[in-house]
């Protein structure tokens, strides 16, 4: 069992949990968190290298292995990765690392880190699983700690937000559960062969079209709630606004990606025919998400609300692109997941740092921070530029891949929606520049802010790491595009019959 590299993505977080539980002071806790997440980052980079070495062998997934867990229901602990999951694992480990730095001075560090690491255990487990049941289990493991993390360490109207977030996501998982069980009962022709294993389900291909029409919306909506799909996105602004910094980072950066990843891995991968036929419904919804989130962000005054709505817009683009069902757009979707994960984590880290100093997130009460905390302000501008799609940073390549891919459809419906989605680049520029203009530039609004200090070393570490990653994707996109696109290559990703 321990000869498989993937299992360590769960083992290390569990060891970290034990380490944090045994720690006696905040220094030890920090050490455990940083060392552990560094180990995870190293491991994921190592995984990337070994994946690249292995991937040509014609298998859909690498490092596939399974262990029986509960035989009567065919539940297995089955693991395996392809290029997409590798990318997601790297993203998660980086964000966990930077999130640890961002919560350097958290109160009640022990409990906080315990929950945070438990959450990331769920995230890592989700990305390595290819068994629907374990996948769902890890999904829930990732969701539940969120309630406590927001409810205890949050700010503002935290009880309401935590409750709302948890309940809405749980509502989503109710749909999801239904969908997954439905898939299980159609996973094979013969009841003795029923399986939760994604790879085997694809191989069996025994979900009838009629059932796909029922199960596809279930799973897509179930994951879509976490992917902030209109109209199930309203947990996002409140939840993000109340969450502590590291939690916002992990949530927007990684957890919302679980939604997109699940939509792709479960809904579309397993039920391609229904996806093909029903995509238009969800295209309309996600198309609305993209524009609607961007327009909503234009008039918000709370920094986190702006960023949350921006996430709605950007994550909408992810689902939008996935639904385009062609290689280029889906590659773009995964790149957008990476890109949005990194830059939104950066955003939330910076907002947390600014909030920690000024104790307000209302942009009307702040101004001219460029003068007071130049480092943070410059980082914020960079994050903003990444968000509005400046070439050389990650947002541009992801969005362009999506747009070019989406435009490959020759019919006017897809085209019109592509153009509508494209228009979000203007709206994004509007709200980003509005914030930058009001928050960072202009004269100093509040005299008390003049005495504030710039970033500390751990904050610098956190932001600089994220900026480097954002720039790395932006400057060398083809490496990532290739990593992802390989997964969609026809001999492997044949279920959709995509070009």
């Amino acid at each position: 069992m321990f000869s498989n590299i993937l299992i360590y993505f769960v083992v290390i977080p569990l060891l970290m949990l034990a380490g944090v539980a045994l720690s006696r002071n905040i220094k030890q806790i920090r050490a455990v968190a940083v060392v552990g997440s560094l180990a995870l980052t190293t491991l994921s980079v190592y995984l990337l290298c070994s994946y690249l070495a292995l991937r040509g062998n014609g298998e859909a997934m690498q490092f596939v292995e399974k262990w029986d867990w509960f035989k009567p229901l065919h539940i297995q602990l089955a693991v395996g990765v392809d290029g997409i999951s590798v990318a997601m694992l790297i993203l998660s480990s980086i964000i966990l690392l930077t999130g640890s730095f961002a919560s350097w001075k958290i109160e009640q560090p022990k409990a906080f880190f315990l929950w945070l690491i438990l959450l990331s255990t769920g995230v890592f487990g989700f990305f390595i699983s290819v068994d629907l049941f374990t996948m769902f289990m890890f999904y829930e493991v990732a969701l539940i700690p969120m309630y406590l993390l927001i409810g205890v360490w949050g700010s503002g109207n935290k009880n309401y937000s935590a409750m709302k977030l948890t309940l809405m996501l749980m509502g989503g998982s109710a749909f999801l559960m239904l969908g997954l069980i439905g898939i299980y009962y159609h996973s094979a022709a013969n009841p003795a062969d029923y399986t939760w294993n994604i790879l085997e389900i694809v191989k069996n291909g025994s979900i009838s079209k009629g059932w796909q029409y029922f199960l596809f919306p279930m799973t897509f909506v179930g994951f879509g709630v976490l992917g902030a799909m209109f109209p199930f996105h309203t947990w996002s602004p409140d939840g993000h606004a109340s969450a502590p910094t590291a939690v916002s980072m992990l949530h927007a950066g990684v957890l919302m990606k679980l939604g997109g990843y699940g939509c792709f891995r479960v809904a579309i991968y397993l039920m391609p025919e229904a996806a093909h036929d029903l995509a238009w419904i969800f295209l309309i919804l996600t198309g609305i998400s993209v524009v609607y989130g961007a327009f909503s962000a234009c008039v918000q005054n709370d920094l986190k609300y702006i960023n949350a709505y921006s996430s709605v817009s950007h994550c909408g683009l992810v689902l939008f692109a996935i639904l385009m069902l062609n290689t280029t757009a889906m590659t773009g979707a995964i790149m957008q997941m990476l890109s949005h994960g990194l830059m939104t984590a950066l955003f939330f880290a910076l907002i947390g740092m600014i909030y920690g100093r000024t104790h307000t997130r209302d942009i009307r009460l702040m101004g001219g921070l460029m003068k007071i905390m130049p480092f943070l302000a410059v980082c914020y501008v960079i994050a903003g530029m990444a968000s509005l799609g400046l070439p050389g940073l990650s947002g541009f390549v992801a969005e362009m891949t999506i747009f070019v891919g989406s435009f490959e459809h020759a019919d006017w419906f897809h085209r019109a929606f592509t153009i509508v989605a494209c228009s979000s680049i203007v709206t994004t520029a509007v709200y980003i520049l509005r914030v930058v203009g009001k928050l960072l530039l202009g004269p100093v609004q509040d005299e008390h802010h003049l005495s504030l200090t710039d970033a500390t070393w751990w904050e610098r570490t956190s932001t600089v790491t994220l900026i480097l990653c954002v720039a790395a994707i932006g400057c060398f996109p083809n490496f990532f595009a290739d990593l992802i696109k390989f997964t969609f290559s026809p001999q492997i990703f044949s279920v959709l019959g995509m070009n």
Binding site: T328, L390, P391, V404, F407, L433, A481
Partner: protein, 643 residues
């Protein structure tokens, strides 16, 4: 040709940006300035070398049988969308990019040097140089783009660096809003550009300029006659791509950002908003010119937009007070000249003379407009005001500035032998050869150009000398760092007209000998002189004429002074319609309807549980009652079903 030197041309500014951007905080002003200037100087030398190599080496790759070829020096895959649609980053050498390799580093170097004096002791001096380097990098990348997506990438980058530079004085609210406006307006235009690219690339399955322009017939065929709303898709694509150009080149109705962009430091205005970035739109059209020739409508569209913009900007320029704004509107007008010139160019008329004329004007205009802006910078430095009302009679105080500014004015007015005369004359010839209407139209605009430029000149250097005694010092000529660029650019402006441009830059690479059309040349000089004369009469000495003339048609004057209320219209659209009419309702809808529905579910659940919580009274005996009732009901149901 070796790829090292072209690569260095791009790499040095980028490196300088990173170096100054990251390490600048720890540097002294002197060091940062030196690094910036040396870097740009190196780029200047290297790109001159490259350009001269292209034009004069006679290398097989560049010229075959007297026909200039486009040569791709290097082309690296950057991002692969599909097998055919690949973004490559490369370096394309052809007549226009080689020409731009001369223009951009020249102006940029001059601005670097000038800024040593102009920006001295400004806070953020290092940052300023970092941004200048970033801009130079992006602009150079734009002109040498081998494919349309590379151009789009650098197009966005110049937009961002322009944003950063306009907002350089970030504590001034006006600068902040101007930079925001510039970015958003051009972004809006870029949306059109992007959609145009998407349409074009979908049908042609390529981004490459070479593939697009070498066989424009194939492009037309590849669309398969698809149409949309009455226009062929190619027309749509080209018009949308031109929209991007309209944004960057400040054509109507997307011109509103350029006058405001004058909030940036003056050398920046000279570099970006006069000489280089704003001509990107012209360059874009020129780059895809063979494709535009396929669609008559697109060219006519360009002509009409250009002509209207030219006239509009010229009228507005006559009424502005801020000298930088006058120059800004004159820039808009001159770029519109170039656009019109491209729009009227047809191979059947003088081998597409308009194309050559447009590029020629681009070249000369870059020189003299940069000169004028830098001169304006010197004036502003001297009197600490942007308005001509604070100036007057300065010819006695600032002789160098005066003479160089005069040369700039003569050049733009089109007086021989200054450079503007030659290029403008070619443009007018091109217009007349296509249609009399546009010829006359543009001649009138040319006359107005002479008028407003000399109005500005006379108001600054003649008119009435105000009281300068409240200044710390009398206005005086700037130091060497600032006067050297003025002198250099003035020299270029005088002589650039004699360059046999047709031998270097033509639409198809064939050489073309410029011959002056005497009738048109004489007419245009006469018109220019008339304009100058009118300006002399009205503004050489303080008098009541201008005020009286303005009083003659007050509504026209007021409207022109307010730039025909374009800003107000935009403000209305953005604030009243988009912000208050779309964004706020959406935000409200989200909070109250969507979120309200979600909260509503929670509310209903909550209310329901409050309603039934009475059952949980804590009275054990009541529980038994309820239990008993339930049990009996169940029993009854079972019994009924059983029977």
């Amino acid at each position: 040709m070796d790829f090292i030197i072209p690569l260095l041309i791009l790499a040095i500014p980028l490196f300088n940006f990173l170096l100054l951007g990251i390490g600048g905080v720890k540097m002294s002003h002197r060091l940062a300035g030196t690094i910036g200037c040396i870097g740009m100087g190196t780029v200047l030398v290297l790109s001159y070398y490259t350009a001269f190599n292209y034009f004069f080496s006679g290398n097989e790759a560049f010229i075959i049988d007297g026909v200039r070829k486009a040569a791709t020096i290097f082309n690296v895959t950057w991002l692969e969308f599909t097998k055919n649609l690949v973004i490559k980053l490369g370096f394309l050498l052809d007549p226009i990019s080689a020409m731009m390799l001369i223009v951009i580093p020249t102006i940029s170097f001059m601005v670097h040097v000038y800024s040593l004096g102009y920006m001295k002791d400004e806070k953020g001096f290092q940052r300023y140089y970092a941004f200048l380097s970033l801009f130079s990098f992006s602009m150079l990348g734009l002109v040498v783009a081998t494919n349309i997506f590379q151009m789009y990438i650098f197009w966005e980058l110049v937009g961002a660096s322009s944003y950063l530079l306009i907002g350089f004085f970030y504590t001034l609210p006006s600068a902040v809003s101007a930079s925001k406006k510039a970015f958003i307006v051009t972004r809006f235009a870029d949306l059109g550009f992007l959609i145009g690219i998407l349409i074009l690339s979908f049908y042609t399955q390529t981004f490459n300029f070479a593939d697009l322009t070498n066989n424009p017939q194939n492009v037309l065929l590849s669309t398969g006659g698809a149409t949309f709303l009455g226009g062929s898709v190619l027309t749509w694509a080209l018009v949308l791509i031109f929209t991007g150009g309209m944004g960057k080149s400040a054509m109507m109705p997307l011109h509103i950002w350029l006058p405001d962009a004058m909030e940036g430091p003056t050398p920046v205005s000279a570099l970006i908003h006069a000489a280089t970035m704003v001509v990107a739109g012209v360059y874009l059209v020129a780059r895809m010119f063979p494709l535009y020739l396929m669609e008559e409508f697109a060219l006519q569209f360009i002509t009409v937009v250009g002509a209207i913009t030219a006239l509009y900007a010229a009228i507005v320029a006559c009424t502005q007070i801020d000298i930088k704004r006058v120059l800004a509107f004159s820039t808009i007008s001159q770029i519109a000249f170039m656009m019109v010139s491209l729009g009227v160019a047809r191979p059947e008329h003088h081998e597409a003379l308009g194309y050559m004329a447009s590029m020629f004007h681009l070249f000369t205009h870059a020189m003299f407009k940069a000169l004028l802006f830098l001169g304006a910078g010197a004036l502003i430095h001297a009197v600490h005001s942007n308005n001509y009302t604070a100036m007057g009679g300065l010819r006695k105080y600032m002789p160098i500035t005066h003479w160089t500014f005069l040369i700039g004015c003569l050049a733009i007015a089109g007086i021989p032998p200054f450079s503007g005369f030659f290029s403008k004359d070619e443009i007018l010839s091109a217009c007349y050869s296509q249609s009399m209407f546009w010829g006359v139209w543009m001649s009138i605009v040319a006359g107005m150009t002479a008028f407003y430029m000399f109005r500005l000149y006379f108001l600054i250097f003649w008119w009435d000398t105000p009281d300068y005694s409240h200044h710390h010092h009398k206005p005086h000529d700037p130091k060497f760092a600032m006067s050297f660029p003025l002198l250099f650019l003035a020299t270029v402006s005088v002589f650039a007209g004699f360059i046999p441009f047709g031998e270097f830059v033509t639409w198809n690479g064939h050489e073309y000998t410029i011959h002056l059309n005497t009738v048109i040349a004489v007419t245009s000089v006469v018109i220019a002189l008339l304009g100058i004369g009118a300006a002399y009469v009205m503004y050489s000495k303080k008098n009541e004429w201008p005020a009286r003339l303005a009083g003659l048609v007050p509504w026209l004057w007021t409207a022109a002074h307010h730039r025909f209320y374009w800003d107000e219209i935009y403000l209305f659209i953005t604030h009243k319609i988009i912000f208050n009419g779309i964004c706020r309702p959406i935000a409200w809808f989200d909070r109250h309807i969507i979120d309200g529905t979600m909260d509503g579910f929670a509310y209903i659940t909550n209310k329901a549980s409050v309603a039934i919580k009475g059952f949980q009274s804590g009275k054990v005996q009541m529980y038994v009652w309820w239990y008993l009732i339930g049990a009996l009901l169940l029993g009854a149901i079972t019994a009924v079903c059983w029977m």
